[in-house]
C-alpha cells in the first residue's frame, strides 16, 4: 500500500502541486484501499470512481500547465449522503430517496469543486441524520474501523469511518445534535461543528433547520482548518447564512495557549459517563495545563435539561421538514394506482421511512399539536434561552469550555438499537452546542481498552479560531498514536 493514504490532506496537496505525486495515482490508490477494506467497514452508499479519476486527470493537467489550482488540489473527499450532489444520487440513507438524483449542487459542493477537491463518493449515515450510530441506515450499518463489531457513531458515521480507515482523506458531515463530533470521537478523527450560520446549508437535506450545520471531518486539526476555510462563507441562497468576511482559518494554527482559561463543564461528567472516558478527558485537561492554561470546574445548571429540550425541538422541526416527502414530485411512491391522495401519501411514508424517522415525525407532530404545543415545543424553546444564557455567562469567565464528546466508548452494533431512549442518551454532551449555536470541535485524546476517546472543546459564537488554536496545540504536543490494525 502506498504510504500517502495515511497522509493528511495538506501533505497530499503540497505533493500534487509540486508534481511529486500525480492526483490520478493518489485517487486510484484510495479506490484500491476501498476495494480492500470497504467490504468490512461499509462507509459508502455510492462510489463515484470514474468521475473522481476524470477530475484527478484534469487537475494533473492543470498542474502540469502551471495553471492556478484550488486549495484542495486533488484531495479525495467523502460527502455525507444528505448533501446534494448534482448528477450523483443523494439518498439520505433512506428508502424514500433511494433513487433521488439532485439536479443541483449544495453550496458546499460548489465550493469544494471550485477548490479542486475530488469527490470519492457519498457516505453512509443514519436515515435523515436521525441517530447516533449509523445503524438506522436503510443500506445497513457502517462498522467502526477500530473494532468492526462496534458502531462508528453517528449520524455521519460513514464520513468518519472513511477518513479513519484511509478510504478518503477528508470528509464532510452534518451536525444537528452531535452528528459530526460523535463519529469523530468514536473513530479517533477530528470533527468540527461550526457556529450556526457560518457554513451554508443550501442543499443540505433538512432535518432540524435551527440546529444543524455542515462541517469538516479530518485526520488532523490542520486539515480541519483548511476544509473549514474552503466551505465557510456567506451564501445568499441560505437566509440563515451570516454575512461575514471570509477567513483563512489555517492562520489560527498557533502552538501557544499559554494563559488561556479553560472551563471544565461539571454536567459533562455526570451520571452515565464511563470512568474510562472521564479518566481520558481529565488526563487531557492535565496536558493542557502543562501548556500553560488555567482550568476550573464550572457548572451550567440548565444543561441537565438540554437533552429533552433538544429532542423536542429537533423532532418538531423534523415533522415539519419531512412533510415534503409525498412521493409525488420525487422520492418513493407505492406502485398501486387506485388509491386516493391521502392514502397514497400515507403509504409512501409508511414504506419509505424507517422506524426512527417515523418515531420522530409522530412525536414532533404531537409536540406541535394543539393542547401540547406550550407544554413541549414552546417550553423547550424557553429552556433553550436559559441554556444560551448559561453559556454566555460561562464565556465571560472562560475562553473555551471542555469536556468529553461522548459519555461512553463506542458500543457494539445492535446494543442500543432496540431502545430509542438509550440511544438518545448518547447525545447528552453534544446537543448543548447545537441549542446555543456555538462552535464545537472533537479531537482524539486517547484510547481505553483499544477504543477511541474524544475531547470536546466549545467556544463563543464565531470563535472557531480559539477552538482550532487549543486543538492544534493539544494535538501538536500530545499526539494520540495508535495503530489501526486494518492499515497494516
Amino acid at each position: 500500500m502506498p504510504s500517502y493514504i495515511k497522509l493528511p490532506a495538506y501533505e497530499i496537496i503540497k505533493r500534487i502541486k509540486a508534481q511529486e505525486l500525480m492526483a490520478e495515482d493518489y485517487i486510484a490508490s484510495l479506490y484500491e484501499r476501498i476495494k480492500k477494506v470497504e467490504k468490512d467497514i461499509r462507509a459508502y452508499i455510492t462510489l463515484t470512481e470514474d468521475l473522481a479519476l476524470k477530475k484527478a486527470r484534469e487537475i494533473d493537467k492543470k498542474v502540469k500547465k502551471r495553471e492556478k489550482t484550488g486549495r484542495l488540489c486533488g484531495v479525495g473527499i467523502a460527502i455525507k449522503d444528505n448533501i446534494c450532489t448534482r448528477g450523483i444520487r443523494t439518498t439520505c440513507a433512506s428508502h424514500m430517496l433511494e433513487n433521488f438524483v439532485p439536479p443541483y449542487d449544495a453550496t458546499v459542493i460548489s465550493r469544494i469543486k471550485d477548490e479542486d477537491g475530488v469527490i470519492m463518493g457519498k457516505a453512509n449515515m443514519d436515515e435523515f441524520a436521525m441517530g447516533s450510530s449509523t445503524e438506522f441506515s436503510y443500506f445497513g450499518p457502517t462498522h467502526n474501523p477500530w473494532d468492526l463489531e462496534r458502531v462508528p457513531g453517528g449520524s455521519s458515521g460513514g464520513s468518519a469511518a472513511a477518513v479513519a480507515s484511509g478510504m478518503a482523506t477528508l470528509a464532510l458531515g452534518s451536525d444537528t445534535g452531535g452528528s459530526i463530533r460523535c463519529p469523530a470521537s468514536f473513530c479517533s478523527v477530528v470533527g468540527l461543528k461550526p457556529t450556526y450560520g457560518l457554513v451554508s446549508r443550501f442543499g443540505l437535506i433538512a432535518y432540524a433547520n435551527s440546529l444543524e450545520q455542515i462541517g469538516p471531518i479530518t485526520k488532523d486539526v490542520r486539515d480541519c482548518a483548511l476544509l473549514l476555510s474552503c466551505i465557510a462563507s456567506h451564501d445568499p441562497l441560505d437566509n440563515t447564512s451570516v454575512d461575514r468576511p471570509q477567513e483563512d482559518y489555517t492562520k489560527y494554527l498557533i502552538d501557544d495557549i499559554d494563559g488561556m482559561k479553560l472551563g471544565v463543564v461539571k454536567e459533562f461528567f455526570g451520571e452515565g459517563t464511563q470512568d474510562y472516558v472521564e479518566k481520558g478527558v481529565l488526563e487531557a485537561v492535565t496536558n493542557l495545563e502543562e501548556l500553560g492554561t488555567d482550568h476550573q470546574e464550572i457548572s451550567l445548571k440548565n444543561l441537565q435539561y438540554a437533552l429533552p429540550s433538544y429532542y423536542i425541538i429537533a423532532m418538531s422541526e423534523a415533522s415539519s421538514n419531512l412533510a415534503r416527502y409525498d412521493g409525488l414530485r420525487y422520492g418513493y411512491r407505492i406502485p398501486n394506482k387506485s388509491y386516493d391522495w391521502s392514502t397514497v401519501y400515507s403509504k409512501d411514508r409508511r414504506f419509505g421511512f424507517g422506524f426512527e424517522v417515523k418515531r420522530r415525525i409522530i412525536l414532533g407532530t404531537f409536540a406541535l399539536s394543539a393542547g401540547y404545543y406550550e407544554e413541549y415545543y414552546l417550553k423547550a424553546q424557553k429552556i433553550r434561552t436559559l441554556i444560551k444564557r448559561d453559556f454566555d455567562i460561562a464565556f465571560k469567565k472562560f475562553d473555551v469550555l471542555i469536556g468529553p464528546t461522548m459519555p461512553i466508548l463506542p458500543f457494539k452494533i445492535g446494543e442500543k438499537v432496540q431502545d430509542p431512549l438509550e440511544m438518545y442518551m448518547c447525545d447528552v454532551d453534544s446537543v448543548p452546542a447545537n441549542l446555543a449555536g456555538i462552535p464545537s470541535i472533537s479531537i482524539p485524546c486517547g484510547f481505553s481498552k483499544g477504543l477511541p476517546i474524544g475531547l470536546q472543546i466549545m467556544a463563543p459564537p464565531f470563535r472557531e479560531d480559539l477552538l482550532l488554536r487549543v486543538a492544534f496545540s493539544f494535538q501538536k504536543n500530545f499526539p494520540v498514536s495508535a495503530k489501526l490494525r486494518s492499515y497494516e
Partner: protein, 98 residues
Amino acid sequence: MVERKKAISKEQIESIAWLARIEISKKELELFSRQLNDILFYFSKIDEVNTKSIPPSYHVLDLVNVLRKDEVKPSLSEDISQIAPQTKGKFVKAPRMA
C-alpha cells in the same frame, strides 16, 4: 409497581400518525405506544423548570427578514419533472382526490 399515567394513548398515536400522513401497522402501534410513552415520560423532566418570564429562542441568530433583490435568475436547466416517480409527458402524475 404503580402504572404511570400514559402521556399518549394508542388512539392518540393513531390520530397523530394520520395527521402526519404515516400509515402505521398494528405491530408498529404496539411498539410505538410503549416507546413513545417512555420518551415522553423522559421529556417531562423539563416540567421542573420555571420558564414563566423567559422568552423562547426559535433560533440563535439576530437575523431578521433577510431579503434579496427581486431579480429574474435562470432556473434549473434540466427538466426536473423527470425525477418524479410517476410522470406522463412533462407532467407529474398525482393520485385522484378523495
